[in-house]
Assembly symmetry: C2
């Protein structure tokens, strides 16, 4: 998905938020906004939004000398989500359709996104997403695909969200390779975030070698690209994975909440939608 | 009030919205965003936000060759508000405190703001603002001031809002000079908008000679500045008048809803607050 003009104000908001999280002075915050505007001017018209986000967050980390401005937010989100884990497992265990319930729990976790908004409320989101009809319903396709493969490549999204994805991975009785980012960006999960959420107990954790949100394949490591190319089934979580992979020919199921109007428009769904999008052309 | 860094993303959003209302092509919309970023870079640190808004909207009108991109929105807002006029008058007539009710109706009208947001809902806002406690309550001071003067200078805000201000002006039994903008900017009322709302029946309409939101005194006509300097009591409506006049020594009562987090912080009130702020140091 290309960057829309509506993304421009959002990039400034995100740059300012990151600068403040990194405790930049007001003067440095302003400098970061001006740098962001320069980068926007230079952005290729067909670049996906995470290309810009990667540049902004690298710049903020460098200029503030802060390797992980969202570190505390990520740890807090994981701790909060871990308190829910027993109840979520019980919910799946007693559900009429455990797989769908686990998918919905994972999608609910997508509200944990320090890039899309400054605040979120996990409990009310869980209640909503467990009941809300899918705007795009790939459940039958996902169910079918899961019955045909013997391994899954799972592209993770944000810290904390990891815990809710763990519930889904525990529900799917297949070996899962869980892919985190190679370096810190926004509140995207890196290896330590996945470990804090216990993903090592239920999957093989690898990183994609990249510090961009989503999955910019050309910025990822050759080893990850190889895994991506060979995976029979890929679950890609969150908006940024949709932004970066929506035009890629691969067996990718996108799980997300459409939190931003641009992505909602691109998907052709109302904002706030619950989306499970199956790969185009995959039987 | 100075421009905060939080205003930067908001300016881009507003520039894009104005460009689209003026039917700019996507290419021109992008050019307008880049121009806006250039202007932000050049903005003096102590400039009030309407200084920037004036520049943006002049630029949009010029580049799109559209003299009043918000014209239709203003006409629609006035027509909608006029349908409420009889009921609002009745509400004031039967109120225990007609002045306070009329003040609240005028403040409710402040939701009609195409600069602060893309949408608003007038009826529900009226219901809320008629009941919500003032976050800053200058009612007693306003009541006292009204008893001591024989004329009022009323700085108008947006088209449509004009109708609800008319209810307040009808309630105040004093001669009112009603000040509109000298040229179109966002959905701020100009003379034709005030006439469409019937303000000529209850006040003397003048314009301030400026096409900035709010009241940038140094951009206003000498004739208006003279009236401003001599006015014994000024009612200034809306956020932009607060942004431009909050540091001016003058007998100004600010009536507004704090719709934006920056203005709410500057006022020291929660977002969504109903504000009637009396002049500092005025007895």
């Amino acid at each position: 998905m290309k960057t829309y003009l509506d993304c421009y104000p959002c990039f400034l908001r995100q740059a300012l938020s990151a600068a403040r999280r990194a405790h930049a002075s007001v003067e440095l915050q302003r400098h970061i906004l001006l740098e962001t505007m320069d980068q926007l001017r230079a952005l290729p018209a067909d670049a996906a939004p995470p290309v810009m986000a990667e540049r902004i967050h690298r710049m903020v980390r460098r200029l503030t000398d802060t390797p992980d401005p969202y570190g505390q937010s990520k740890r807090d989100a994981t701790v909060q989500a871990m308190t829910l884990l027993p109840a979520l497992r019980e919910r799946v265990r007693t559900a009429p359709d455990p797989l769908e319930t686990a998918v919905r729990i994972a999608i609910a976790g997508n509200i944990i996104d320090d890039g899309a908004a400054e605040e979120y409320e996990l409990q009310s989101t869980l209640a909503r997403v467990l009941e809300q009809p899918f705007a795009i319903d790939g459940m039958a396709r996902l169910r079918q695909a899961l019955s045909e493969v013997d391994t899954i490549l799972y592209l993770a999204d944000n810290a904390g969200e990891t815990v809710l994805e763990r519930v889904l991975i525990e529900t799917i009785a297949l070996p899962v390779t869980y892919v985190v980012k190679g370096g810190a960006v926004i509140n995207d999960a890196i290896r330590e975030d996945a470990l804090a959420a216990g993903l090592d107990a239920v999957s093989t954790i690898i990183d994609n070698g990249s510090d961009a949100p989503g999955t910019l394949l050309e910025h990822c490591s050759p080893a990850f690209r190889e895994q991506f190319a060979q995976a029979p089934l890929i679950i890609a979580k969150g908006q940024a994975n949709y932004e970066t992979l929506s035009e890629t020919r691969a067996p990718v199921f996108f799980l997300l909440q459409a939190k931003c109007p641009v992505i909602a428009d691109d998907l052709g769904v109302p904002i706030g939608s619950v989306v499970l999008k199956a790969p185009v052309g995959m039987s």
